[in-house]
């Protein structure tokens, strides 16, 4: 018996909602922007859900939509800003935590989130998916690139994270 869309959607929210919240936090700094993006993602998933035919895993489906919605959200946010630095580094807005976030995040989590946020969008996407436990092939499915490309991006992203978090580098132990 096929699952009714309402039940399927609620199950998706229950299964992937927390991962999506983390993804949203990696893209948006401001709490209200995060809520806005989360709603957009949910909206997009709800609309796309009837077209889901199981040709990829449910997690891949959800993350594809979430990343695409996040790109659109950032793109619109950049277009809205009156002064636009074309350098994507300008996407790295003030990384200081907001008061609500301060209460929620412990120091290590805070440092990790800040480090992830300071990566370029493409590396950020890759590392967030990897941190969520997706394999390279699955990340490739979400991003629409080959596993080899994912491996290259992950290497770069991990090296950046290591530098930003001031972790011991390979060979320095």
């Amino acid at each position: 018996v096929p699952e009714p869309p309402e039940a399927g959607f609620e199950r998706l929210v229950a299964d992937h909602g927390r991962a999506l919240r983390r993804l949203v936090a990696a893209y948006e700094f401001d709490a209200s922007e995060q809520d806005d993006l989360m709603q957009e993602i949910m909206f997009a998933i709800w609309r796309a859900f009837p077209s889901f035919r199981g040709d990829c895993s449910e997690r891949t489906f959800v993350f594809r939509i979430a990343h695409n919605a996040a790109i659109s959200h950032r793109r619109r946010a950049m277009t809205r800003q009156r002064v636009l630095e074309l350098d994507l580094a300008s996407d790295r807005i003030d990384p200081r935590p907001g008061p609500d976030e301060d209460l929620l995040l412990a120091t290590l989590q805070r440092s990790l989130l800040d480090a992830v946020r300071s990566l370029s969008p493409m590396l950020r996407q890759t590392i967030v998916l990897s941190l969520e436990g997706l394999a390279n092939a699955e990340i490739g499915d979400v991003l629409g690139v080959a596993s080899g490309t994912v491996a290259v991006r992950l290497n770069r992203a991990r090296a950046e994270l290591t530098r930003l978090l001031d972790l011991p580098r390979k060979g320095s132990q």
Partner: protein, 186 residues
């Protein structure tokens, strides 16, 4: 190598332990979707109604005065409507977007649509220029209201072009950022 794996596992654990408990209310999302769908349906009905009225008026006018000036005005209205509908269609398809595609394809299509929006702006400007020409030929004078409307339309078209260009540049940088340091063919 093992130390690095342990380190990575620790990072994954830290990441996944984020207190992300504030989940969206599925019922609220459904209510939003329903409300937006209703608004879109109302807009679509209004747009269709305006289009039908404009086409009907132009056809009636053309049948009343079936000379070359009537044909020119009717053609002008139809071209204007076509341009307006092209903008509407592009805007809607951009909102719907192929969200279930992989990021690479999604960004490629977003770039294509931004380019289409810029091309449409040129079409709009061409239509406006055509209207001016028709106005000058048919009526031999220019109304202040028409001047104001044309100025507004050109300003709007310019703003659209600017927005599409910014989007396009952002998307190009987004893609370049990924590809510039990756070996070819990976």
């Amino acid at each position: 190598m093992m130390a690095r794996d342990v380190e990575w596992s620790a990072l994954v654990g830290t990441w996944q332990s984020f207190p992300a408990d504030i989940l969206p209310d599925a019922a609220l999302v459904r209510a939003r979707v329903d409300a937006q769908s209703r608004r879109m349906r109302i807009w679509q009905i209004l747009e269709m109604a305006v289009t039908i009225v404009a086409i009907a008026a132009s056809v009636i006018e053309l049948r009343r005065e079936p000379d070359w000036t009537g044909a020119l005005i009717a053609a002008d209205i139809w071209v204007t409507l076509t341009a307006a509908w092209a903008f509407v269609w592009l805007g809607r398809s951009a909102r719907r977007g192929p969200v279930t595609l992989g990021t690479e394809d999604y960004v490629r299509i977003a770039r294509m649509r931004a380019r289409q929006r810029r091309a449409l702006v040129w079409l709009t400007i061409a239509v406006l220029a055509g209207q001016w020409l028709i106005n000058a030929v048919v009526h031999q004078n220019v109304h202040a209201g028409a001047l104001l409307l044309t100025t507004f339309c050109i300003g709007w078209a310019g703003w659209q072009w600017h927005g599409a260009s910014r989007e396009l540049r952002w998307l190009e940088r987004f893609q370049a950022d990924a590809s510039e340091r990756e070996p070819a063919g990976v």
